[in-house]
Structure formats: structure tokens, C-alpha cells
């Protein structure tokens, strides 16, 4: 790896630290009787309300339709994710320090895989919350599920539910782009090295 790639990878790894300080995803609920809106933030290790008590109030609303309570402590992914991101930071730094292109490749590859898995997992959770409803719920509308969209907005009963990536995800994405840039630049330089090696 050339110095630029190494630098970019180091930057990507360090930038990734940002996900520990910014939420990854944001789900909002809008309804007339909530003029201030209700919001839920998904962090690497927690789910919180956008404003104090929002999560409490969202759970209260969900009980009408029999949706499971959203309890961050019962979501194992939130315990694993900090380590995964920590791992990516360390792996990226290791790649930058050693200049190993293999590590860089591994970093980018794993990152992409992890991103896809993460989204799939998020969708699975949303599906579960939206479909797996208490049959004894007071409000049962035949054929209606309450799964919020993965990205975008959807009207669920009287609520407009919107789900969008938040700063944390953009940071991760920026980090990935830096990693990809490092990979592209490194492959330019790397090709040469390999060629030289092959010659000798």
C-alpha cells in the first residue's frame, strides 16, 4: 500500500469512531395529536427517544395494536455492534500501520458484508415488530401490519412513520468510501509492486 492509501485507511478507521457518538438510524412518527412529533434513535449500543420520554410514549402507543415493547436491553445486536465497530477501527488502524493490502481488502470486504447483514437484520427486526402482534390487542385491523419502512415513509393507521439513516450511518458510509478510495489507490500502486515482484 502506498502512503496515501495507508493514510486514507487510517482516516477511515478513525472516522468510524464517530458512530459511537452519533445515532445510526432515526424513526419518526407523525400524527395530529403529536404536534411535536415522536422520534426514536438507534445507536450502536442503544435505542433512545429523540426527545426525553419519546420511546416510553411510542411503546405506549404500540400497546394499542399489540406491538412488542421496544426494550433496548433485550436486543442482542446492540450488545454486539460496539465490538464490531471497535473491531473495524482496530482492523483499519492495523491495516494502515502494517500497510498490508490484504488487511485493507479484508476491511472493505467485511465492512460491506457487515453493512448488508446489518440492513437485513434491521429489516428482520422491523418485520417482527410490525407483524408479530399480540392477538389480544384492543385494536385489530384485519390485514394490516405495522412494519415501518426500511428507508422512507409509510402511513400506519393514523401515524405517518418515517425511517431514515442518521448521522452515524453517514459517518460509516463516509468511512467505507474512504476505505474504497484507499483500495482503489492502493491497487494502482500495488499493481506495480506485484509486477516488479513477478519480474524478479
Amino acid at each position: 500500500m502506498n502512503a496515501i492509501s495507508r493514510g486514507l485507511l487510517a482516516l477511515a478507521a478513525l472516522l468510524l469512531l464517530g458512530v459511537f457518538f452519533k445515532p445510526l438510524w432515526k424513526i419518526t412518527l407523525e400524527a395530529p395529536q403529536y404536534p411535536e412529533g415522536l422520534g426514536m434513535l438507534i445507536w450502536v449500543n442503544d435505542i433512545t427517544g429523540e426527545n426525553p420520554h419519546d420511546l416510553y410514549n411510542i411503546n405506549l402507543l404500540n400497546h394499542y395494536i399489540g406491538m412488542k415493547y421496544i426494550e433496548p436491553e433485550k436486543i442482542p445486536e446492540l450488545k454486539v455492534m460496539p465490538f464490531v465497530f471497535g473491531f473495524f477501527v482496530l482492523l483499519g488502524l492495523a491495516g494502515a500501520a502494517t500497510g498490508s493490502r490484504k488487511l485493507l481488502l479484508l476491511w472493505v470486504g467485511l465492512f460491506v458484508v457487515f453493512g448488508i447483514l446489518g440492513l437485513l437484520d434491521f429489516y428482520r427486526w422491523e418485520y417482527d415488530y410490525g407483524h408479530n402482534l399480540d392477538p389480544n390487542a384492543p385494536l385489530k385491523i384485519p390485514g394490516l401490519a405495522y412494519q415501518p419502512p426500511l428507508i422512507g415513509c409509510k402511513t400506519l393507521l393514523n401515524m405517518k412513520a418515517c425511517s431514515f439513516p442518521a448521522e452515524g450511518t453517514y459517518i460509516a458510509l463516509a468511512s467505507l468510501i474512504l476505505g474504497l478510495a484507499a483500495l482503489m489507490l492502493s491497487s494502482l500502486g500495488g499493481h506495480k509492486t506485484e509486477f516488479t515482484e513477478a519480474k524478479t
Binding site: Q33, P35, P138, I141, L157, N158
Partner: protein, 664 residues
């Protein structure tokens, strides 16, 4: 250079155009509201077109506003004491709040209903229910005063009340909470064994003349132990019937939120009260021992009398076939409303997105053809398909209550989706919808639940206020919204706050109420046993001691009391101030308050006598004064009472100016 100038000019032009657009838009907005403002503005000195009577909910009172202005005119105390005018504090009014559980200072008032003649609101009286400790009150609209309250025995949670029949023959009451009848100690878990519901028909004496003991319990129908929620009586073709929604046919006794929401359909109970009258005349009712109070104001004295009643006639549906039927109705129905022609019986499926409409004609057919799906405790269950006219699909979320206009349209309040939806019950079609802020409960149209709606305005009574007005901390007023319903599309006109929690309301053209307003009470006709009709009489009677009980006879007129100086009162006495307002002019009340009295003030209308009780505790000289700014010399309207020690030997004397008298 030149190009730059052109560019700048173009930019400026664009900016101007943008600004123009913004302005035209704001102007457009304000024009709409300007029009609305014109519709609701009532110029200084002019009167509103309608009265609206809001129940006060947890304040136990009735709030009176003018429409279209929304101006708050008065709060009529009904089931809660009102220190503002001494209701429930004065000796004269305490009797109205007596029950078999003693004197109750508070209740929860939900559903006002105007008296009707031929199905049309007539402006004589307003009835309203007490939900917590079951009672029905009657307010005389010539005085805007509660004049009669009857307790409902064998009941709890008197929610499906106080709805009336089309000639005010009856006021109905019912049990939102089923209870043991009669009350008895049972394990709660044995609910199905002890829970009983009662539907009570209170007979109303509609004869003319000044009398206030008009209500009497005719009979109670003993029904299965469900939660009877709301009611409305038939009119026109369905006159003779009353309809009651029920939920919790699951008969849950805990976590009803879940456990009473399980069944797909609950019931509307249809009661044929003319059939009940027949059965009663055949002696099929049973006299049952119980205890309840009937309180009413004696019009001659103005004093509330409390009479104990010890029995009630109970009718069992199985002893009177044809008296009651169940109409299956989806999803824990809340409101039940009958169209002006009496044909459609509409249940508000509060957990549904559909609005079920039953047909009275179909119901009659189904009864004739015995299209039954079962029977509960002698009450046949009619087949849903046999009685159902239609379901208005996807009408809204959580339809609760329907009111009607005079063009065959219906308007339903939708709690969950916070909107009012206009629809045609005949064609089962949604016609229009308008959002309301936020979470509407009931709605009201003048005469909107009668045979003759005045379809001009609709008021949405919203449960949640949040950011609609200037904030007042965590506790906010409720929000009423006035909507114009004269056009094809509903139009929002005005927001105004209300007091307590208006549940239902009644609206009526003001003229029907204005025409028989009392302005004063005739002093000459005042038969209060402690009234004094002149200052001379007040000095003559003055202070009368009966042991520790002291009666003070007093007049109030601008701007003094007679007597205003009193001596001879002792610690340990119980003093009764009988104050007669001897004014005979409109809107000259006098107030009376006593320093240190563990009591309220009393507000005495011209020609009226009210009594304030006071127990002096410490020797001294204590002032009393007029609390109502009655005249230019109101501040001078004051007096003193000398309180002496228990064993003091002070002569009992009283005077105002030169007019003086002493006891003995």
C-alpha cells in the same frame, strides 16, 4: 457591466415575484380566516344565535357558551359544590347533593340532554347525569339553576344517561359498571355470578306550573352484567324504544383494555319501553327494597328538600317477552345515535375502521320473523345481517359519536384519526372529512340528536389540547372547534377553550331559551321560612337564640346589611345568617361572607333568601361584607359581629344606624 445589470435586475424581479407569491399566499390564508371571523363575530351588545350546554365532566357542572362566538356565559353548578355562589355550601342548596351515601360534594357529569316536545328541543329543561354516584339532575332553563336531582339505585357508573324520549316521558339511566344487585360482599373473581346491569327509566312529570318534584323512577330492567355505555331513544317511527350500547360482553373484571376487547361483536340493547309499561300494568314488575334520594328545590321557599325512597320496581326481561333485544354490533361500540326520522340506529365501533348502521325497519322485521342468533337471560339476540342496514367501510379510525343535520347527512367523530367525517347513512357513503385538533370525543349540532336538527354549526369537543392555545402548564383546557356545516364541504370557523371535560353537549336556538328567562325572584312570593322582606322586619326579628343555635335575620340592599352590627354572639354558638336580598332589579345580586367561616360565600339573587352557617371559635370583633360589587358604595357594604367568650354576659343587640333592637 451591462450584462451584470440585467442579471441584477432579473434577480430583483425574481425576488419580487417570490415575495409577491408569499404575500398572495398569506393574504389568501388570512382571507379565509377573515371570512370565518365574520361568521363568528358577534358585535358588542348583540346576542349569539345559539346556546350550547357543555357537560363539565370531572368538574361536575354544565358550561354554557354562546354560538357562534364561543363566549363563555356561565357555569351552572350541578353535581359539584361551587364556592363561587355558595351552591352546596348554603343551607338551602346542601339538600340537592344528598344521596344514600351522604352529602357528596363532587361528581362527574357527562351527557346533557334538553327536554323535547314531539322530538324537538323545547328549551324548558336540561337533564344531566352523574356518572360516579349514579344520579340524574334537572336544570330549569328559566333560571339556569339545578332544581332537582334523583339518585339511581342498583346502579354504578351511570354513563348511558341522561337521554330522553321524544316527549320527555322518560329520562334513561344505566350501568356502565355492573354490580351486585342488591349490593353484597362477593369475591371480585366471581364476576359472572354477581354482575348485573340495570336500565332505569325515570318518569318525568311534564305538567305545567311551578313544581320541581317531577322525576320519579318508573322501573328498572335487570339485564346481563355487561358494561352499558351510551344511549339514545327512538323518535318518530322508533318512538317507544331506547337503545343502549354495551361492551365487555366478555364479562372481564380486570384489564378490560385487553380482556373486554376480545369479541368481534358486542351488543346494542334495544328496550321497548311501551312494552315495559304494558307488563308493569299487568303486574309483572317486582317491588324491591332499596334506598335512594330524591332532592328538589321547593319553588316557594327556594330550599332543597331531600326525600328518602325505599323501594323500586324491577322488571326481568324473561317476565316480559318483547321488552328487550340485543343487536350484535362490532367492536365494543361506544355511542349509539338515532337518525332524525328514527330509522337508523348507528353504533360507534370505537376500535374499528367501519361504522355499522342498523335499520329500525329491519329490526322490526327481524323480531317479527324471529331471526334470532341466540338468547341471554331472556333477551333474544337478533341476527346481525337481519338488522344491519350497512357498514360504512373505512369511514375513519375509531368512530365514536354521530350527530345529524336537517339534510339527511350524518357526522361522526373519530377519536384515533382526529377528524369529523360527514356521511350519508342512507347511502352508506363518506361525503367529506375535516381534521380536528386533537382527539375528538363527542360532537354536537343544534338539535343534532333530535327529530329536528338546525344544521348550521357543528362543535367538535376535543380531548387533547397540547399546543392549540397559549400554554398554561401541564393542565390545559379542553378545545372546542366550531365548524360550519351549511355547505357541501365542512369549514373550520373557530377554536375556543372549555372548562372541565365536556363530554356531550346540547345546542339550541337561543330564542327558545331566552323567551322564558327569569330576571329576579318576586320578593312578595318568597315563602322561605327565614325570609325578612323589609329592613323593619329584619330589625324586628333580628337575632333569635335557641340554646347554642343562633339565627340572624338579615336584609341586603344597596349598600348596607340590616342589621350590620351584632352583639351577643358567643364562642360555641352555631350561627345561621339568613340573608334576604330585598332588591327587585335585574342583575343586582348581593354576596355575603363571614371572616373565618369554614364555609364559602353565598351569592343571593334579588328576592332570594340564602343561609350561611358559621361557628365562631375565638372572641373578638369580626367583619362580614358583601362580596358582589353591587353599587358605587359596595365597599361600604360591611358590618361587624362581636364574639364574646362562652361565659360572657353580653346583651344581645343588633342595629343598623339608628334602627336598633335588643333581645328580651
Amino acid at each position: 457591466m451591462k450584462g451584470g445589470r440585467v442579471k441584477r435586475a432579473a434577480l430583483a424581479l425574481m425576488a419580487l415575484a417570490g415575495l409577491g407569491m408569499v404575500f398572495s399566499q398569506t393574504k389568501h390564508m388570512s382571507k379565509e380566516w377573515e371570512e370565518a371571523a365574520k361568521r363568528v363575530y358577534v358585535p358588542s351588545g348583540q346576542h349569539d344565535e345559539f346556546y350550547v350546554f357543555f357537560s363539565g365532566g370531572f368538574n361536575g357542572q354544565v358550561g354554557v357558551h354562546g354560538v357562534p362566538s364561543g363566549r363563555n356565559l356561565r357555569t351552572i353548578p350541578v353535581f359539584s359544590v361551587n364556592p363561587e355562589n355558595g351552591y352546596g355550601y348554603s343551607e338551602e342548596t346542601k339538600g340537592l347533593l344528598m344521596t344514600s351515601h351522604g352529602f357528596l360534594p363532587w361528581d362527574d357529569s357527562h351527557h346533557p340532554e334538553l327536554s323535547q316536545t314531539n322530538g324537538v328541543p323545547d328549551g324548558r329543561w336540561l337533564f344531566i347525569n352523574a356518572n360516579n354516584t349514579p344520579r340524574v339532575a334537572r336544570i330549569d332553563l328559566s333560571e339556569f339553576k339545578t332544581v332537582e336531582i334523583i339518585e339511581i339505585p342498583n346502579s354504578a357508573g351511570n354513563h348511558p344517561s341522561s337521554f330522553i324520549t321524544q316527549n320527555t316521558e322518560y329520562v334513561v339511566a344505566g350501568t356502565r359498571f355492573s354490580v351486585p344487585v342488591p349490593q353484597k360482599d362477593y369475591p371480585i373473581a366471581e364476576y359472572k355470578k354477581w354482575a348485573k346491569g340495570t336500565i332505569t327509566f325515570v318518569k318525568v312529570d311534564n305538567s305545567e306550573g311551578e313544581k320541581n318534584n317531577r322525576m320519579d323512577i318508573a322501573f328498572q330492567l335487570l339485564v346481563p352484567g355487561y358494561d352499558y355505555d351510551l344511549a339514545h331513544c327512538g323518535k318518530g317511527k322508533s318512538h317507544g324504544w331506547c337503545f343502549f350500547t354495551s361492551y365487555n360482553t366478555e364479562q372481564a373484571h380486570t384489564l378490560l383494555e385487553i380482556n373486554a376487547s376480545k369479541k368481534d361483536k358486542d351488543f346494542i340493547l334495544a328496550v321497548n319501553w311501551k312494552r315495559a309499561e304494558q307488563c308493569l300494568s299487568e303486574g309483572k314488575g317486582k317491588k324491591v327494597k332499596t334506598l335512594y334520594y330524591h332532592n328538589y328545590v321547593d319553588p316557594a321557599t327556594g330550599i332543597a328538600k331531600s326525600e328518602k325512597r325505599t323501594s323500586v320496581t324491577v322488571l326481568l326481561p324473561k317476565d316480559c317477552p318483547g321488552v328487550a333485544y340485543y343487536l350484535p354490533t362490532p367492536k365494543s361500540p361506544h355511542g349509539v345515535d338515532v337518525s332524525p326520522d328514527g330509522e337508523y340506529i348507528i353504533g360507534g365501533g370505537k376500535l374499528s375502521v367501519n361504522q355499522p348502521i342498523h335499520s329500525f325497519t329491519k329490526m322490526q322485521e327481524a323480531i317479527k320473523n324471529k331471526q334470532f342468533a341466540g338468547e341471554v337471560e331472556g333477551i333474544p339476540i337478533l341476527k346481525y345481517e337481519a338488522v344491519n342496514h350497512c357498514e360504512v367501510k373505512n369511514i375513519c379510525l375509531g368512530p365514536l359519536h354521530t350527530e345529524f343535520d336537517d339534510k339527511g347527512n350524518a357526522y361522526v367523530s373519530c377519536f384515533i384519526s382526529s377528524e369529523v367525517v360527514k356521511y350519508s347513512p342512507k347511502e352508506c357513503k363518506v361525503l367529506d372529512r375535516i381534521p380536528v385538533y386533537y382527539s375528538i370525543g363527542h360532537l354536537v349540532i343544534p338539535g343534532g340528536d333530535s327529530a329536528k336538527p338546525w344544521g348550521k354549526y357543528l362543535i367538535a369537543m376535543n380531548k387533547i389540547t397540547k399546543d392549540r392555545y397559549l400554554p398554561t402548564g401541564p393542565e390545559l383546557p379542553h378545545a372546542a372547534q366550531l365548524i360550519d356545516i351549511t355547505g357541501k364541504k365542512m369549514k373550520m370557523l373557530l377554536d375556543f377553550p372549555t372548562h372541565g371535560e365536556p363530554h356531550y353537549a346540547q345546542m339550541i336556538p337561543a330564542d327558545l331559551v331566552k323567551k322564558h328567562q327569569k330576571k329576579i325572584y318576586e320578593l312578595a312570593k318568597n315563602k322561605h321560612p327565614h325570609a325578612v322582606k323589609s329592613e323593619d322586619e329584619a330589625i324586628q326579628k333580628g337575632v333569635v337564640r335557641k340554646g347554642n343555635e343562633v339565627h340572624i335575620y338579615m336584609t341586603a340592599i344597596r349598600s348596607h346589611f340590616t342589621p350590620d352590627n351584632i352583639e351577643g354572639i358567643k364562642v360555641g354558638d352555631t350561627v345561621y345568617f339568613h340573608v334576604t336580598n330585598i332588591e327587585q332589579d335585574w342583575d343586582i345580586p348581593h354576596g355575603f361572607s363571614m371572616f373565618g367561616a369554614q364555609n364559602a360565600n353565598i351569592l343571593i339573587m334579588p328576592g332570594e333568601t340564602l343561609t350561611l352557617k358559621w361557628k365562631p371559635e375565638k372572641p373578638g370583633v369580626y367583619p362580614f361584607y358583601c362580596t358582589d360589587f353591587c353599587s358605587a358604595l359596595h365597599q361600604e357594604m360591611q358590618g361587624y359581629i362581636r364574639v364574646s367568650p362562652k361565659d360572657a354576659n353580653v346583651k344581645t343587640c343588633w342595629w343598623t344606624g339608628d334602627k336598633k333592637k335588643c333581645a328580651g
